[in-house]
Subunit: 341 residues, 4 copies
């Protein structure tokens, strides 16, 4: 069946797989100490313009979020997130399981605005009961967001300035970072992110890898004992090469961006098709995820012909669904979809 | 200074103190195995009409909430609470520290309505991503609520029915239970609470004791190993007599209700005074806490003459403040307050 | 029945109770902000010769241990304790519940020797797998120990030097500190403890109070947000006066030491009696707890006449039991015991 | 450099890699719902003779241990393990991080004996302070153990009988299960393990896979919400196919056992070589790991020519090191090693 349900129904990008095959016979040291992992780090440092960055490779997004957040929060601290943030909604309470509150602020197009962040911090500061409350210890944003939207450079700069003034880290979840960087309507670069955030991760699972996310502490600012924390959270791969080799491939000759651009090109075509066919967009987005509002009956009927992702109930009679492209989506897929819609 | 800031600025009720003094010279067994603790349990079982109830005495409210909630929730379960619930706001993230999400629903007068609860549960059940989410494992309500309001018997019955249909426990935080039971406009008795809830606690700290809360599992349904859980959470008093003797006194000859009624009588007078003086109520309540909206300047001025509690910001220019009576408030206090207002 | 089972079967020391009674009618601010709590802090600072000490009052020992330890340990850090340490054995896994490993070292008379500590640290440092292990982040000792033994000043200095060289805090559990300071064979003062430790607590529950322990950070070195941590752990008493008033009494006119000395005097007499009657000591101790080895039958028979504490199995046929004196033990108690033995 | 340091310095077994390559182009459903994962489960159920088994695929060993253990333990429960058990030593305190104590018993050849287990349980039951202690809630064993030794069928049956009598689960960590099953001196089959344990995992990472472990609940006895727990612990792979495909390959045509047997054949040759060369074995083992005691100087010298694993200090002058074979070790490797030794 035609599949637009997500960007992780495919395997690895052929070039990534090829590198796994080529290096498979080699004997390599373990736990991320191998030369491919080292090479991948070097390439990512260059891509971020951060020669001193500390880089760690983990297997998946939730794992990365919980390890980074619990590793950087103080004991009574909470993490501020949009109420639609992945950590607030769809990670099975993983952050709370590490002992910390997710402090939600209302989202705007999936984003935290500087105004909302300032208001949240000011409300905390003004609250005479604040010593009986978790204090804000980190800000978590997704870029692209869970709705596929993007922060502008000005927006990122504003959030970063607020965090720095308060000396709390800004953490950017880049599960789909490639699709954000490759968007036709972004002014944010990887170097900007590295400059403005205190930690972020570059998603591999949804952008060409079988698994793997690269955590970047841009100024060598990983918490002490972070390696042991990764182990403690069950997030340390014995064969670290598995992720190291894949990221080495993704950051060779710009593959990460190249394949992301392909997904964006097809997403732009997808938008045209959806618009032509009269679909109602839930939100305007410029990355590889497109959200539309379907009548429930229409959703059921369409689901028999094309795999989509349920996103959320819109109202009693309508559902928000997601169409996603990826590096592996083809023009044929789009043509077939056009037929169906 | 005149003090209406809270119901725990006083010491113990004289009768409670007297019992501590009378029993002080006795050698008693420890960790709650003494005869006064046993007597208190017997009296509470009678007051609840629950001959099989398991009863535990802890020192304070947050401690009780975190021990009960973490002791009854499954690993991935969250606890549903009003967004103004004490566990959601003013317990420093204690529930999250035990690894569980507080799943908030919008409050109505500080209460969870049956509609809001049903909607929350239905939304969870309908969410196709629900296996990636914490599941609702308990419902937490306060009675009186944090705003001093009360559930009606019909409201409690409705919530209880929903919880039983779903087989999740209903937990009632009775930090100020006495003031709720003694209200002039309630149709809810202690026996009703015991019948409709799966666990609740009878607050002592705010109703005549120096410290102490009585946790009641009405049908002998304490979790296995609950005593050890209490110890594990640091909530087991070596001299269990401290709380046992106080509750024995509070549940002798109806003292708990008698002193609560006194607070309610004065609260009703307080309401009259506030109304006469033209104060604007934030919410209509029938218990010992009264919330009014003050201009910020008025709040500052008034605070120099009478101790009040800051509750929350109302808007930029106004603050919600609390006046509380207790078993120790006097007619003279009210007369003096009337002078000041 | 005659009772030597523990030092917390009694109520409050009469002078302590008297202060609770005298202050009961006062309206006081809450959560430890009252003037008696402040006065108690001032007196404790003087007793420790630590004018800058941060002091917090909690209700009980396990609660204090878990709050202090989790508040000071890094995420992957463990706490080193003697394998007979209270946190390792009899706190229901409270430390593990906060996420940290108790790293045990073999005890000598209930104590950690400098040699054992150095060996433990050296073994960690030499272990090539140490990044896959929790790292030593604190040293926990009890003084008196769980067996009633005491560190000498030289021993404490040696442990302190090791901890400072490694920059990990030394935490002294003083649940029975009074009985240690009042021992006839100690060269350790409260000022020594304050000088050599990074945090310690002065036990109230077992030395004259109904409940309460005073946590001292001698150089104003409480972790940031420690007040909120206390709240988060359910350890913040709403009526902070309950513990504040008691410690104010205990540290007025040297009451704490005076009553401890009484217990020591009687413990010395108890030792003479036990020796005369041919009892076999499990360990030589100079504080208020005396441990002897009884045949199991003898233990059962004796238990019918005098309350003792089971301590641990010695072998298949023998049991280690504890006789404890306290500030409330009388000469008459000892005379009666002599009759029975 | 010649490498005998571990069984995870290689990539995937060629047949496993081949399946990843062949299936890479397919669009598959996510989070373990794909057909290869389903096929792998079916084959594992057959290999275990457990048609009703619940099976989950996770990425690595520590992750599996912490998810299974925290998912099955009650709140105050600890897990009994040998003091050399992986969870007790080399998982960075991961179990404690989930809130549970690892209760160690002395090991014999890396194993828990029935006697040691019975003694531990009897001591707990006899301890009059046991309600102040974590209770034994699970038994964890490794097969092969961390020293490469194996339980006999009689030993496993004895442990299982003790666990069942007490109604606590027996969990077998099979990180290297293949090498245990393929040993020339074992009478334990996979079906025996499934019959005698309540949960176990079949290690992939060290036996032919790039990553992945298969958790088996043999009688359909997975805890409720276990899928969500896996997500909560960050252990749910978005592309579940990554592990599913690999296990499908490993359990096709007996590959798992075939390649394990190869490692065992070479380990037997390795033992002959080590014995011939006069090396002193730390323990007699019949699986793919061989531990010998080297003088520290000898260890340093040898390490320049062949990669070995440091295991532990033996004494001041000697070190225990590990030689490991795997499915990828060759006769040429052994010949080269013979030259060097």
């Amino acid at each position: 069946m035609l599949n637009f349900s997500s960007d992780y129904t495919n395997g690895a990008h052929p070039d990534v797989l090829q590198r796994l095959v080529e290096t498979n016979g080699e004997i390599l040291t373990t736990y991320g100490s191998d030369r491919y992992t080292e090479a991948a780090k070097t390439k990512i440092r260059a891509a971020c313009s951060c020669p001193d960055a500390d880089i760690y490779f983990l297997a998946g997004g939730t794992q990365t979020n919980l390890t980074v957040i619990s590793g950087m929060l103080g004991l009574c601290a909470g993490v501020i997130a949009a109420d639609t943030g992945h950590i607030a909604l769809h990670e099975a309470g993983a952050i709370e399981y590490t002992g910390h509150k997710v402090m939600t602020v209302p989202q705007h197009e999936g984003k935290i605005t500087a105004e909302a962040l300032s208001a949240c911090l000011a409300a905390f500061d003004a609250d005479e009961n604040r010593t009986h409350m978790p204090y804000p210890g980190m800000v978590y944003i997704s870029h692209p967001t869970e709705y596929g939207t993007l922060y502008s450079l000005a927006e990122l700069e504003a959030l970063s300035a607020i965090c720095r003034a308060r000396e709390i880290p800004l953490f950017l979840d880049g599960a789909r970072l490639g699709y954000g960087l490759a968007s036709r309507r972004t002014d944010v670069t990887m170097a900007d992110i590295a400059r403005l955030c205190d930690v972020f991760y570059i998603g591999g699972t949804k952008v060409g890898a079988l698994c793997g996310e690269a955590v970047v502490f841009p100024r060598g600012n990983a918490p002490r004992h972070f390696f042991t924390m990764v182990k403690q959270h069950g997030a340390l791969l014995a064969k670290g090469r598995l992720v190291g080799v894949q990221f080495d491939a993704l950051f060779t000759d710009g593959l990460y961006l190249t394949i992301s651009r392909h997904a964006i090109d097809l997403a732009e075509e997808l938008k045209v098709i959806l618009r032509e066919k009269g679909y109602r967009f839930f939100m305007e987005t410029d990355t590889n995820q497109q959200f539309v509002i379907l009548q429930n009956g229409q959703y059921a009927a369409l689901s028999e012909k094309v795999a989509l992702s349920y996103w959320e109930a819109y109202d009693e009679h309508h559902t928000v669904v997601r169409f996603a492209t990826s590096w592996s989506t083809t023009e044929e897929d789009l043509a077939a979809l056009r037929e169906i819609l």
